[in-house]
Symmetry: C3
Subunit: 209 residues, 3 copies
């Protein structure tokens, strides 16, 4: 990384992940009938929702209010996806890899923030999961759908295992940067393996509905 | 405004808007089967939800916790509407004009608060939209319905354009009061015109549900 | 209470109530098809959601971030219930009494915190209701169901009357401990009586769905 600091790299990756989540948020919400405002709202929820919940829980300045680049990137991605999806059928599969990378990045950033705020390790790993996963959950709640993360292949589990791996390695003395990239690798590998071989968590249906 | 300050006027309008939103919240939620507690919750969500989300995002004291007049007015309106609606069929149309006025007022107040907190202009306009629109969105999420604001005639769009108009005029040197009333005028005119001529945003249905 | 302080007692009751809510959260959400992550999320929402909303509204440190015992107890209860419910059909009735006790405890704790933060009495009683009731509401919103509390027997009403009874007795000079136990008694008695005789609030269906 000649001349580019790690912080600049993570910031750029964060903006890129916001763009991806903004786009997939529109595609997911678009399975229901929504208008342009609904699409932008779904994109913002998917992209910025997880970090917002994390910041509120930690009583931290909400990240996209201090720096509106995230907001502009997300809205631009949502609007472009909206008009592209009205013309062409965008296959959600296109986004599987970028989405896994976004999940990994958001999880690692969220976990680091939790550790910075001196939360206990389980809470810190949960901050990672919330940052990575709650955006999609909010998007589905707004679109009045059963959250996809409750049934998809090891989505939150991959995030949590990556967060725990990162925390453990940091405890063992590994540096901030190396443990972050290791955590991201764990998330991406588990998620892609789970999609490839259809690995899911055990599930429940009590049936007294 | 002889003898009445602008702040008193805005405060009075705010209470009036809370009453209107509390009433319409009950009517909207009542399309599902709800009990009196559900009605009060829906009324509170519709009336105070947008401002609450704004205050949480800005890390500002939640407005109805400092001054419980908003809460009392909203609950009174919700309870009265509940019992009236059990007897008579209240046409939702009755509330279209007061609702547009409430939207306008909440939007302008929310935008002003965003500006006071030194947020960037896009965030400030979003605070206006959130204050004006998120109450109805929360109400629909609680009642397990697809949010009306995702499909209705230029609801959030009217709010956003009013917020932007207000910010632009204030940048150009127009005073606080004049720009607020101009912003409200923009919201009301666009919203009523959109209802009259059934103007909606473009919409999307990807159909891979 | 020889040798055990009231604070220790309330803390222990709080953990116990978290366990009960974590378990019932899984059973309720399990009426839909959910995986283990969905079950844990539903358990956490049901158990910690009400207190979290209260702490955010009062700008108070979120209780389970400071002390992760609540989180661990809730997750353990959710995981155990998940695997038990996959084997056996756990009747929800089993939990009616513990659930009423949890509701009573959460309500009283929430109201006390509201009073400590010098909120007006109506807001303080609402903090009690939010602490007691919003967990179940969040759980149902996440599971894309109409909230049970909007139709069940005097659930929120019992909480509110208990909170008001506690506040009134404290105003009249009754001590902190005595008024807390009186408030809890009011909640439990009203809730159990309402279940026994199927007492519900009046309800509404406007029918213009």
């Amino acid at each position: 990384m000649h001349g580019i600091s790690v912080d600049t790299l993570l910031y750029g990756l964060g903006i890129a992940a916001s763009v991806v989540c903004g786009a997939t948020g529109v595609l997911e919400a678009g399975r229901k009938h929504i208008d342009l405002f609904g699409a932008i709202t779904a994109g913002i929820a998917a992209s910025l929702g997880g970090g917002t919940v994390r910041d509120l829980l930690l009583d931290r300045k909400v990240f996209w209010i201090a720096d509106q680049t995230y907001l502009i990137a997300t809205i631009a991605a949502a609007v472009m996806t909206f008009f592209l999806a009205r013309r062409w059928r965008l296959p959600a599969k296109l986004f599987l890899l970028p989405d896994a990378m976004g999940l990994a990045l958001f999880t690692v950033v969220g976990t680091q923030i939790g550790l910075q705020f001196q939360t206990p390790w389980l809470v810190a790993s949960l901050m990672g999961v919330i940052t990575g996963v709650f955006g999609g959950l909010l998007r589905d709640v707004l679109a009045n759908e059963m959250p996809l993360v409750f049934t998809s292949e090891l989505y939150a589990t991959a995030a949590w295992l990556g967060a725990v791996a990162m925390i453990v390695m940091q405890e063992l003395g590994l540096g901030y940067v190396a443990s972050s990239f290791l955590g991201m690798g764990v998330v991406i590998l588990i998620r892609l393996a789970a999609i490839r071989w259809h690995i899911t968590l055990p599930s429940l249906k009590t049936g007294n509905s």
